[in-house]
């Protein structure tokens, strides 16, 4: 009779221990990043290594905000991320809705073809994208980077939206049309409101993808007017030297807005990512 509580206790303890290990594994690099950002230069390579600074300093943050182009880069990242999120939502909702609701020849091959974009390595499409952005005269502009980032976000978000829409019973839209509404009314009054959490998640996903993307941004931008924050991080490494304190401080600055946004919107994010996962 007492075996079950004992087993439950052991299982519970094991689960918590496992979770603690996973959490430590996940958070340890972040802790190192945060604490290193408050260390003086001589503290960074102290032997034996210590997690906490021996003297706390804001010098690295001062370097980031006053002696680098990081403030401009953060602004550029926000501009690019917002452009990408908006454009992704406009394009992908239209495409995802069409894939979920319209029956047309080659619908399935087309859907699979779109998903192919997600499995092709970014380096493979780098050169064609560079040529397209150049031809459009968008090189070294935030718009050009946003254009390139759409190549990353559009395939997956189209599928996310498609599944969201497919999970909504068609009968709800049909009810609007029986009442005399157009298809556009059905979308406005039924599909969009039901999809809203999923669309928030999709927009946030697109923003996140753009926020931390490095490869395209590093190749497509040349001036600090267009450089995004991940690329500007490399400014703290010169030919012979890496300013690890400033690099970590810049990384914290780069991470904090995303953490805040994620915490604020996590309810939508989790719901939106799993929405339509069963039925689709």
């Amino acid at each position: 009779m007492s075996a079950r509580p004992t087993r439950r206790l052991l299982t519970g303890t094991g689960t918590w221990v496992l979770l603690a290990v996973l959490m430590t594994w996940t958070l340890a690099p972040i802790a190192v990043m945060v604490f290193t950002s408050f260390k003086a230069r001589e503290d960074v390579f102290q032997v034996p290594a210590r997690l906490l600074p021996s003297t706390w300093t804001l010098e690295n943050y001062a370097t980031v905000f006053t002696a680098s182009t990081m403030p401009q880069a953060l602004l550029n990242s926000v501009v690019v991320g917002v452009l990408v999120a908006l454009a992704t939502l406009v394009f992908c909702f239209s495409a995802g809705y069409a894939m979920a609701r319209f029956r047309f020849r080659s619908a399935r091959p087309l859907a699979l073809f779109i998903l192919l974009g997600q499995v092709v390595p970014l380096t493979v499409i780098l050169l064609p994208l560079y040529q397209m952005v150049t031809a459009a005269n968008l090189l070294d502009s935030t718009t050009g980077v946003a254009f390139a980032h759409l190549a990353i976000t559009v395939p997956l978000v189209t599928w996310m939206v498609r599944n969201q829409v497919a999970a909504i019973p068609i009968e709800l839209e049909e009810a609007v049309r029986i009442d005399g509404g157009s298809r556009f009314d059905a979308v406005s009054y039924v599909t969009l409101p039901v999809c809203a959490p999923g669309l928030v998640a999709a927009g946030m996903f697109a923003f996140l993808q753009s926020w931390h993307e490095f490869l395209f941004a590093s190749v497509l931008t040349t001036s600090s007017d267009a450089r995004t924050a991940p690329v500007t991080l490399t400014e703290f490494a010169t030919e012979f030297d890496v300013d690890w304190g400033a690099t970590m401080a810049a990384s914290v600055v780069l991470t904090v807005p995303i953490v805040i946004a994620f915490v604020a919107l996590q309810r939508y994010f989790v719901g939106g990512l799993t929405g339509g996962a069963v039925k689709g």
Binding site: L126, N137, L138, T143, G144, Y189, T222, A237
Partner: protein, 411 residues
Amino acid sequence: MAMKPRSAAVAGIAGALVLGLAGTVVHSVVTGSRESTTSVEWWVPDWDYDAAVEIVAQFESRNPDVQVDLVKTTGDTVANRTAVALDSGNVPDVITESIARVPNYVAKGQLADLGGLYGDALPAEDFAPGLVDSLTFDGSVYAVPYRWGTNALIYNPELFAAAGITEPPATWDEFVADAERLTSGDVVATAWPMSGDPSDLTLRFLDFAVSDGATIDHGTPELTEQSVTSALELMGESVTDGWASRSSFELDNTGIRELFLQGRIAMYPGGVFDVTEALAQDAPVATAVLPGPDGPGTAQGVGWAYLVPQASDNQERAERLVRFLAEPENMAALTQTFPARLSASDDPRFQTPERLAYTEQLAEHSVPAANDPAWNASVQAVHDQIQEVALGRKTVAQAAEQIMTLAEGDE
């Protein structure tokens, strides 16, 4: 038929978004289409940028028909950006690039022949030994090098004195003997950069190998089993023997320098920038030529050069800029290590006592670094073999066999 209110709102918002996005694209296209046939675009790394601004101002005052657009690159992005630009054909007019990557671009026919720049005003013999030759392919010279440097031995004279050592090691036997004496308490004799860029470690490896019989023929290393074995014994076994720090696995060049500045590491092969940094911090520092098997060892020269892409629309103006940049005083201004031209080294800041060992190393015991594309491709694998020996997971013989196979291109 009138639209329902919410439908009208949705249509309005969607329309505004589309118009806004389209407007943004059009604005970028229009503002981005400023091209000038008189401008020369020069991609310059951020560490040279400030000096480049001043030099460009001088160039433009002498050449009023040319405007130079400076574009800043960073050490971590320049390779990718240059490769993509050259592949796409949409290129700047002058690029400051690592000499190590020049053969890759030459192999694709992407660089203009700059051989015409060399002559009385720019004598090839005024450059560091073998340097121009290493950039010559089928009789054409595809770059003008402007900065050049090697590693030399950096050591802490106070730690040496405390260990009863009066002179820096001149041979490998002395190096190992000194290392064993220096390793005590909190101090370890040396460390290797096993973290960070793998080429930092393989550069040192190849320095040791070249000092013991390996050669570098036009950028291609010709290794011998003896030379590879010696280099692996010095680098890999030093960790297992305890006189090279086990923290090597987590150190890059910056980390090693910081430990040296803290007095935790007694000596290491390093560049002259580290010496400048140590002097700036009043740390005890001295330099010597790298030790070799029986005398001075050989170091590989690495550096940067100016390239003009074959696809540049402004080759004449680009070459004029490169010719100006190659003048000795301009080379000196853009260099923290050593200028590639010997005549530019007369500048007093290249003549300090700590730099004498580097000058001797460069002039008498150096060869241009390996830059063959096949070798470049195997750098990570060679790095891993050295690390395997240091971890004690492979013997020197096993790793040497693997590296020989890699170098012969069998894998």
